[in-house]
Amino acid sequence: MMQNISIISKTIPCNDEVLELTNQRVIYWKTQKSLILSDLHIGKSAHFQKSGIPIPKNVLTTDLKRLKQLIQHFNAENLIIVGDLFHAGYNSDLDEFKDWLTQFSNLKIQLIKGNHDRFSNAICEQFQIEVFKKDYFLNCLKFVHDFKEPSNDFFTISGHTHPGVFIKGKGRQRIKLPCFQVTKNQLILPAFSLFTGLNTRSAPKNCKNYCFTDDGIFEL
C-alpha cells in the first residue's frame, strides 16, 4: 500500500496563468496557492457497502492521505474542486471526510457541483464548502464540471470524464494510463480518486495528453 508518494510536476502556460500539472492527479496554481482537482467521489465505497457490495473503505483513507500530502507539499490554502466531490447521499465516509477536514484550520474549499453532487446545501454548509451551481470564474480561468462549449474569453478547466490514454509502441505495446487533456483553451482533469475507472474514448479535438505514473509525468 502507498506510504509516501513522490510528487513530480510539469508546468504549462494557460493564457496569462501558469499551472503546475502533477503526477498525483492535481494541478497546483501557484499565484492563487490553490490545488485544482476533480472527481473525488467521497462516499463511493460506503455507498457500495450499503448496497451489499463489499468494497474496502481504506480506498477513501488512502485518497485523503494523498490529498493531505499534496496540501502540505505545496502549502496550499485553497482547494478548487470541479465536481463530483461526493458520490451519493450521506454515509459514514462523509464523517471520515469531516474528521479529516478538522486538521486544516485555514483551508478554503470551493466546489463546482457535479452530476453526482446531489446533496442539499445544508450538508455543504456543515463542511464549510463554498458551492457554485454551474461555474466559477477566477482571473482568466473558468471552472465547470462537464465541459460543454468552448468559450473564447476564458480557459476552461473541467473534470467528469475520468480521461485516460493509450500509449502505443514498437512490438505492439499498449499502455493505458490516466491523463490530463489539454488544448488551446481547455483542460480536463483526471479523476482524483483511485476507485474510479478510465475513459479512453473521449478526448477533445487537437488535445495534448499529459499522462503520468508513480514517478513521472509525460507529455505525449
Binding site: P56, V59, G171, R172, Q173, G216
Partner: protein
C-alpha cells in the same frame, strides 16, 4: 428382471410402445428396472436413441406401480442445459402421458416462461417440471420454497456432460444437494453422451452414499467425415477464420441433401457466412435461415419449427444448435473451421441422420490451410474412438457465496446444517470450515477487517438463528444476478416499427453513430436511436454494413485433439495414401520444412524472426490456447530474468508468440534451461501474478459473487451509482484485501483448474524429452503466420513503467 416385467406399470408402457411399433432398447428397459429397484445412476447413450424415455418412463412406470407412494405436486424435476430443449421435451412427454391416459401435468419453467404461468405454478406445481439450473436456484430464493419440493421423487439431469466442466455443473450439484437435504430418499439420475471420464461424471453428480448404477447403450452412431478441399492449395490462405473461397463447394452439398446445418464457431462468422451463401446462390433466399444465441427467441423458435417441418434447405448456426431434439429432416452437417474438440465434432455430426442406425454425414470445411491437419487429426481420433474427459470445477467460492445469499433471500439458513450438506457436494469436498466461515463473514460483514465495513448489512443473523436478507432492494438485485453465465452488457435490437431482431453487445454499438448500418440475423439495419438498453433500428438499403463481433465464445482445442494433431504434423511430409488432407497440403508443408522445420513427434520447434515490428519468438507446443497462454507468460518471465524486458504475448491453438521491441536473449545455450520443467509450479505462480490473467478470470467471479451488478438488456440502466468494472474491484482488493478468497479463486482458476495444471506439466515433461530445435527464419513461416495475424494478446513486463514510456518516446523520434 422377470418380476419387474410382470408389473402393471411395465406392461402398460410395453404395450404402448408395441402399438407404436417400437421395442424398447435394452438400455431403456434396464434403466426402468434399476429405477424400479431404487437405484440412482447415469445413462450413457448417443442422441437419437430415445435416452429421454429411459429415465422419464422409469419414473412413469414406478408411479403406475406405486401410485400411493406419490403425493400431489412436483414428482420429477428435469434439468436441461438449454431452454430450447425443454419446450420440445415437454411436448414429447406430454404426448406419452396423454396416450397412456395419465393425468400428469408436464410443464416448462425457465427465463422465457410468462409471469402468469409462473404464478400459477407457484400455486400448484405440475407433476413434472422441466427447468434449468439457474431457474431452480431462483426458486430457492423465494419465500417458503421448500413446500414445492416436499413430494419430489427424482431429479434427472439431461445432457450432464454438457453441464459438467462448467460452473453451471456446480450450480446443478448444489441444487441437488439442497433438495436432497429436504428429501434424503431422492433418486438422482443423469443422462450423458460418451465422454472420457464417465465414472467421475457419475460420482460428481451422485456423491452420496446410495445405490448407483451406470447404464451404457450398446448402440453406436456411424459417422462419415469428408473434408472439402479447394481445387488448388494456393486458394486457401495461411490464416483466417472465414474460408469464403470455399462457398462454391458448399452450394452443391446444400442441394444434394434435404436439410443441412452449417455450423460456425462464432456468431460473427455465422452472420458473414449467411451473406456469403446468399451472394453465391440467391435462389436460396427464403430457404436458408440463420440461428444463433443473439437472435430474438421468437424468431429462433420459428426457425427450429421450420427445420422440423422440413421447410428449410439450410441453416447457418453456432453452438446454439449443438444440442436439442431431433430435427428429422436434417441429413447433413457442414462444419466451417475447427470444431475445437472431438466430442463437439461428433456431437455436431450427430445432428444429421438423427434416427437410430442412420449414418451421420459431416463435411469439414477448412478456413485456413493448417486446419486441414486438424481435420486429419479428428478423423484419426474418431477412428480410434478417443474422446476427451470433462473436468469438473472445484472450490468455486463465488458460487458458494451466491448460493448462501440465495438461501438467505429465500427461507434463511442455519450455517451448521448448510455447511454439512455443502461439504457433501463434489465441488466442495475439500472446503474447510475456515473457508466456509469466511464466506459467511463475507456476506454478513463484507470482508476481513470488521471496522472497514460498518455499513454493510447484506445478510443479517436473526434471533432465531437464521441468516436472512433484510433489504428488499438487495434481495431484488440478487435475484437478477443469480446464475453463472456472465455476458457482456447486451442491448436489445428492435425495429422502430416494432418487432425484436436480437441482441448486441454494448461494446460494439458504442462505436457506431446514428445512421450507421450493421447486420444482425441476416438483416441489414440502420441505427435510429438508443434508449434504455434498447437499440431502435430501421431496415437499411446501404451496401456497406458492419458485421458485429461478439466477444467471448472462443474455445481452445482440447488436449485429446492436440495429441492427434502433433502426430499428424509429425508425419505430414510422408502421409499415407488415404490421408488426402495431408497430401493436398504438401506444397505448404514443404515450404515450412525449407524455411524452417516441421517438428517430428520427438522434437519441439522454436522460431525467431526479426521484423520491422520488433523481435518475435514463436514456439509450438500444440497444447491448445489456454495452456499456451500460461506457457507464454512463464517463458516470458524466465527470459526477463536474464534481461528486463517487455513482451506482448499472442497465442492460438498451435503455439504462442513473444514479441518485444528489444532483442530476445534466447540462445541454443540457454534454451533448455528456459524451457526446463524444473521449478515449473513456482515460476508459473510468479508469472501469473505478474500478468493480467487473474484479473480476467476475476471478471466472471466478481459477477457471480455479486461484486459487479449486471444490467439486463431492455431494462433501464438503473443503479448507475453502483456501476464499476471488475478490473477496478480486482485492483482495489489486491491493494487492500489480498487475503480475499475470491481473489485466491481467480489466481487458482488460471491454472489450478486441474485440467490446465496436468496438461502443463505433461507438456513440459514432453518438451524435456524432446529435442529442442531453434530456427532463425527470415520471414514468417506457414506455422507462425496465423499467430501473427489472428490471435488474442496480452502483456508481460518487469520493466519500470516510466522507463518504458521514455523508450517508446525515443523510438518514435527515430
Amino acid at each position: 428382471m422377470s418380476n419387474f416385467k410382470q408389473t402393471q406399470g411395465y406392461r402398460i408402457i410395453q404395450s404402448w410402445m408395441e402399438e407404436k411399433g417400437h421395442e424398447p432398447f435394452s438400455f431403456q428397459s434396464q434403466t426402468w428396472e434399476r429405477y424400479h429397484n431404487n437405484f440412482s445412476g447415469m445413462v450413457v447413450a448417443p442422441t437419437g436413441f430415445g435416452k429421454t424415455f429411459s429415465v422419464f418412463l422409469g419414473v412413469v412406470i414406478d408411479y403406475l406401480n406405486h401410485p400411493n407412494k406419490y403425493k400431489k405436486g412436483l414428482k420429477l424435476i428435469w434439468i436441461s442445459p438449454l431452454r430450447s430443449l425443454a419446450k420440445d421435451l415437454a411436448k414429447a412427454m406430454n404426448d406419452v402421458v396423454a396416450e397412456i391416459g395419465l393425468d400428469w401435468a408436464v410443464e416448462v419453467r425457465n427465463g422465457d416462461t410468462p409471469t402468469k404461468d409462473r404464478r400459477r405454478q407457484e400455486r400448484l406445481m405440475p407433476d413434472v417440471l422441466l427447468t434449468t439450473p439457474e431457474t431452480l436456484h431462483l426458486l430457492f430464493s423465494q419465500k417458503k420454497n421448500s413446500r414445492w419440493f416436499k413430494n419430489v421423487n427424482c431429479i434427472a439431469v439431461d445432457e450432464w456432460h454438457e453441464l459438467l466442466g462448467s460452473k453451471r455443473g456446480v450450480l446443478t450439484e448444489i441444487a441437488i444437494a439442497r433438495i436432497r437435504n429436504l428429501l434424503p430418499k431422492l433418486r438422482i439420475w443423469g443422462i450423458s453422451a460418451t465422454i472420457g471420464n464417465l465414472e467421475e461424471a457419475k460420482d460428481v453428480l451422485i456423491p452420496y452414499d446410495v445405490k448407483t448404477t451406470m447404464i451404457r447403450a450398446k448402440e453406436k452412431k456411424k459417422i462419415k467425415i469428408t473434408s472439402l478441399l479447394p481445387d488448388q492449395v494456393e486458394e486457401l490462405s495461411w490464416a483466417g477464420h472465414l474460408g469464403k473461397q470455399m462457398s462454391s463447394k458448399i452450394i452443391p452439398i446444400i442441394y444434394e441433401n434435404t436439410t443441412t446445418l452449417i455450423f460456425t464457431n462464432t456468431r460473427n462468422q455465422s452472420e458473414l457466412w449467411y451473406q456469403i451463401i446468399i451472394d453465391e446462390e440467391p435462389d436460396l433466399i427464403g430457404q436458408i435461415a440463420i440461428h444463433h444465441g443473439s437472435i430474438d427467441k421468437v424468431q429462433r423458435n420459428w426457425i427450429e419449427e421450420a427445420i422440423s417441418q422440413g421447410l428449410l434447405k439450410a441453416v447457418v448456426c453456432t453452438s446454439s444448435l449443438d444440442l436439442g431434439v431431433d430435427f428429422k429432416p436434417v441429413d447433413c452437417v457442414i462444419q466451417i473451421g475447427s470444431a475445437k474438440g472431438i466430442t463437439r465434432f461428433m456431437q455436431r455430426a450427430g445432428r444429421s441422420g438423427h434416427s437410430p442406425f442412420e449414418t451421420s454425414k459431416m463435411y469439414a470445411v477448412p478456413t485456413h490451410s493448417l486446419q486441414l491437419i486438424e481435420v486429419a487429426a479428428v478423423k484419426e481420433a474418431v477412428k480410434q474412438n478417443e474422446i476427451e474427459a470433462r473436468q469438473p470445477y472445484v472450490l468455486t467460492y463465488d458460487i458458494l457465496v451466491q448460493f448462501l445469499v440465495t438461501l438467505a433471500v429465500g427461507e434463511g439458513f442455519k450455517p451448521k446444517e448448510t455447511y454439512e450438506f455443502i461439504k457433501q457436494v463434489h465441488a466442495f469436498h475439500f472446503l474447510t470450515k475456515e473457508e466456509f466461515d469466511w464466506c459467511i463473514h463475507f456476506i454478513t460483514q463484507g470482508g476481513n477487517t470488521l471496522k472497514s465495513y460498518e455499513e454493510f448489512h447484506k445478510v443479517v443473523l436473526y434471533d432465531d438463528g437464521l441468516y436472512r436478507v433484510k433489504s428488499r432492494r438487495i434481495a431484488m438485485n440478487h435475484r437478477m444476478n443469480i446464475g453463472v453465465i456472465v455476458s457482456e452488457v447486451m442491448l436489445f435490437v428492435k425495429f422502430f416499427s416494432g418487432g425484436y431482431i436480437g441482441m448486441i453487445e454494448e461494446y460494439f454499438i458504442s462505436k457506431l453513430k446514428k445512421g450507421d448500418a450493421f447486420v444482425l440475423g441476416g438483416k441489414v439495419v440502420e441505427i435510429q436511436q438508443i434508449k434504455d438498453m434498447t437499440v431502435l433500428v430501421k431496415r437499411s438499403k446501404k451496401k456497406k454494413a458492419i458485421t458485429p463481433s461478439w466477444l467471448g465464445g472462443r474455445l481452445p482445442l482440447t488436449s485429446g485433439l492436440t495429441h492427434f494433431l502433433r502426430l499428424k504434423l509429425s508425419d505430414a511430409l510422408t502421409p499415407n495414401n488415404r490421408e488426402k488432407e495431408l497430401k493436398f497440403l504438401h506444397p505448404l508443408l514443404k515450404r515450412q520444412e525449407e524455411n524452417s522445420h516441421i517438428p517430428r513427434h520427438d522434437e519441439f520447434l522454436i522460431e525467431m524472426i526479426e521484423t520491422k515490428e520488433g523481435f518475435h519468438l514463436f514456439a509450438y507446443p500444440f497444447e491448445g490456447r489456454l495452456v499456451h497462454e500460461i506457457m507464454a507468460s512463464l517463458i516470458a518471465y524466465r527470459i526477463s530474468q536474464i534481461k528486463k524486458l517487455t513482451f506482448t504475448i499472442a497465442m492460438n491453438d498451435y503455439g504462442f508468440e513473444l514479441l518485444s521491441d528489444q532483442e530476445i536473449p534466447l540462445t541454443e545455450e540457454n534454451m533448455n534451461a528456459i524451457f526446463s520443467k524444473e521449478n515449473l509450479i513456482k515460476d508459473v505462480t510468479t508469472s501469473i501474478n505478474a500478468s493480467e490473467m487473474a484479473s480476467r478470470k476475476f471478471r466472471d467471479i466478481a459477477v457471480v459473487a455479486g461484486l459487479v451488478i449486471q444490467t439486463q438488456p431492455g431494462k433501464r440502466k438503473t443503479n448507475k451509482s453502483l456501476q464499476s468494472s471488475s478490473g477496478l474491484i480486482f485492483r482495489v482488493l489486491n491493494d487492500y484485501e489480498p487475503s480475499n478468497l475470491l481473489l485466491k479463486q481467480a489466481y487458482n482458476e488460471v491454472f489450478d483448474y486441474e485440467l490446465e495444471k496436468v496438461r502443463l506439466q505433461a507438456a513440459f515433461q514432453r518438451i524435456s524429452n524432446s529435442k529442442i530445435i531453434l530456427k532463425k527464419a527470415r520471414n514468417f513461416t506457414p506455422l507462425s503466420f496465423p499467430l501473427k495475424v489472428d490471435s488474442l494478446r496480452g502483456t508481460m513486463s518487469n520493466e519500470n513503467l516510466s522507463k518504458r514510456i521514455e523508450r517508446i518516446q525515443k523510438q518514435a523520434l527515430k
